[in-house]
Symmetry: C2
Subunit: 444 residues, 2 copies
Amino acid sequence: MSDKTKFGPAKGMRDWLPKETLLRQKLIRLIEHHYQLYGFQPIDTPALENIEVLQGKGGGENEKLMFKILKRGEDLEKAKESGDFSDMGLRFDLTVPLARYYANHSNDLPKPFRCSHIGPVWRADRPQKGRYREFYQCDIDIIGGASDAYEVELLLATDRVLKELNVGKFKIRISDKRLLSDLLIGMGVEGTKVAGVALALDKLDKQPVDQVWKEIELLGHSLEVLNKVDGFLKNALNRQLDQAHFKIGEAEKLWLKIDSIRQRVHAVNPDANVVFDPLLVRGFDYYTGPVFEINVEDKDFTFSIGGGGRYDGLIEKLGGPKNTPAVGISLGFERILLILAEKNKAAAQALSSTVYVANNGQLERDILALAESLRSHGIQVEACLENKKIGQQLESAQKNGIEFAVTKFTPGSKTFTVRKLSTRQDLEMTVVDLLKAVKELEKT
Amino acid sequence: MSDKTKFGPAKGMRDWLPKETLLRQKLIRLIEHHYQLYGFQPIDTPALENIEVLQGKGGGENEKLMFKILKRGEDLEKAKESGDFSDMGLRFDLTVPLARYYANHSNDLPKPFRCSHIGPVWRADRPQKGRYREFYQCDIDIIGGASDAYEVELLLATDRVLKELNVGKFKIRISDKRLLSDLLIGMGVEGTKVAGVALALDKLDKQPVDQVWKEIELLGHSLEVLNKVDGFLKNALNRQLDQAHFKIGEAEKLWLKIDSIRQRVHAVNPDANVVFDPLLVRGFDYYTGPVFEINVEDKDFTFSIGGGGRYDGLIEKLGGPKNTPAVGISLGFERILLILAEKNKAAAQALSSTVYVANNGQLERDILALAESLRSHGIQVEACLENKKIGQQLESAQKNGIEFAVTKFTPGSKTFTVRKLSTRQDLEMTVVDLLKAVKELEKT
């Protein structure tokens, strides 16, 4: 076993160095802060759930990727005969635990209940770039409200948060889960082939149109049907669809509803990056109406950074109150972080605002007393308490990204000598001067 | 299966309602903030570790309580023959993962490395009041520094954090892991009985002295030894020990070292709640020198809320660089929370600073535009988008702890009518007035 394997985190999981941890915390707090402005209250649930809660709830592929907990003690002995080895599992998303949570607490919660849930989930997936076995999701949900005004609210809040995060150009695509199949049936696609066509169209963000089209043709359709689908696809890709294109079967009603949601979002915020996309496909069985998917538009990134939809049946299916409507959007935190990290490579190397107090032969108690006094002004301080050469101390402080080091001081005096490590300039400063310099540094 | 079991969280685990989540977040951020002032940088590691990392590392009882992850796919099939069902485990503390982390990243980390690690750990323990199967720990550690000046730093930082948390009266007891047994051997206790006496003395915070003393007597000692131990115990309990009492065998050197640490803490902060306690016993094998334990002194709570010590051998044992000294303190977050929750029952019922925008027949777009404008000033807003009677709306807002509701507004006007729900008073306000009122509320 190599040291890399022996001391590395488990497969598909990650350690976080201090700068990475600080960046993650900062972004999570920013997301939480803005969700709170929209009335979404934070909640939390355990990492582990009883296995009955997690199994058979429409989680689809994700459920198959669940990490299960081995039974313990006597139960494990019995399991060796029954073959039923597990009594709990790690949550693979935040939606299934939320439904259980709502079932458990609905009497104590406001109606509708707006909540945000941010935390890690685990999936035994094959790790690859941007895909991990432990990753954070950021969910907002509104439970107990049937009005599509809640879709409008979710879209406004999500647009705001993504802009505050500064992820660059993005698009929140919206449609209705039933719309695409209604359209395809209206164009004459045979019922058994509708899912296949939808599956092919879902690959448009990863594959060239030609390839998607070949997959559709291979399913075998009449020339007339192919022509209709082709015409529709071209119009959709060129964003040249209007109400006239939806006068097919049941589709028109759905189109009117989705277009109304979009219009009402833009009535409040004309700059909201929300677009209608009839080609949108969302995989989960539990969606029952409007669906959303968020894509970044960047030459380096084409992937989805979140999605969601209305799931009116799920809370009841998970044992919650009957007829509980619900709608939510989940952001993929790791992918957002990946984008921001690429965009801000320079920022990631920013100087640390920690102040170093060098040991220049003073007494430990005097060094620590100065450190305490700086801390009481809100300055982060790292003091050197070992007898090392001063040159070595400053070199190692600089290597750790520190900019300011107190190099000389007299106990009781109001000023001290501070070296700016990047320029080797020595300055005589008071605590207030140093605080100002640190605040200035934090801004850049 | 009752609904309580069916929809409840897994045994020994907990759901968090919004107010509880907010309180937990606030306290964790306060702890982090103050640790950062002391130069402890936040890090994070995965919840899961390879099983080899967690097993056989001196975790003692905690290791036995590990939740293990069931192997998957082919590996699981093979396991049914080998009986080796698990390849990973949930971390049961933050020390073992930290040692693995340091081994993995030591080249990228400063020396000494001061870090704080706050997160959940899991133990398959028998749940009871204040003891859960998922709970947070807050650790600070200094790795790579052999000087006992680092003990001084850890103690100063911990004293500061506990005072900022306002946990009430507490005591950080310090001793050396080897001191008590050296003393007992010096008093003539037979080598095979030393551990038994220490085990009995460790129960002094939970049992009356008489009972502890009986347990010591039962081990069988000569009258002379019993008299010496009794005399020492009485002096220790009455805090009447001075250097003269430690002139026994190897004990004096250890006493001098611990007393020097205590003196140096008090030289910087005379109010630090740090006391020397030769009766202190810490269970883990991996401690190698000074040890700490933190107790609250409250009629309702007598339990330990944290502890730690120097563990110079552990990093190397876990595969890290040879001869890596390390020292750390861990706070038990759930117990601290329990104390604060009991102390602040009133505060927990504080009014929410969210502002309610009632639906008084206005257009959705106008309601949402007002909400957006309030949010842009940093006010948390919950808007009513459904057609309910205004009385019902305000009643449900008040039930949810909301104090301010906008009940009337004219689109485009700079003022609007705000009802103070607790007094039913109507006020004409601008955004700035409302912001002030909300800030005032947050202070109380």
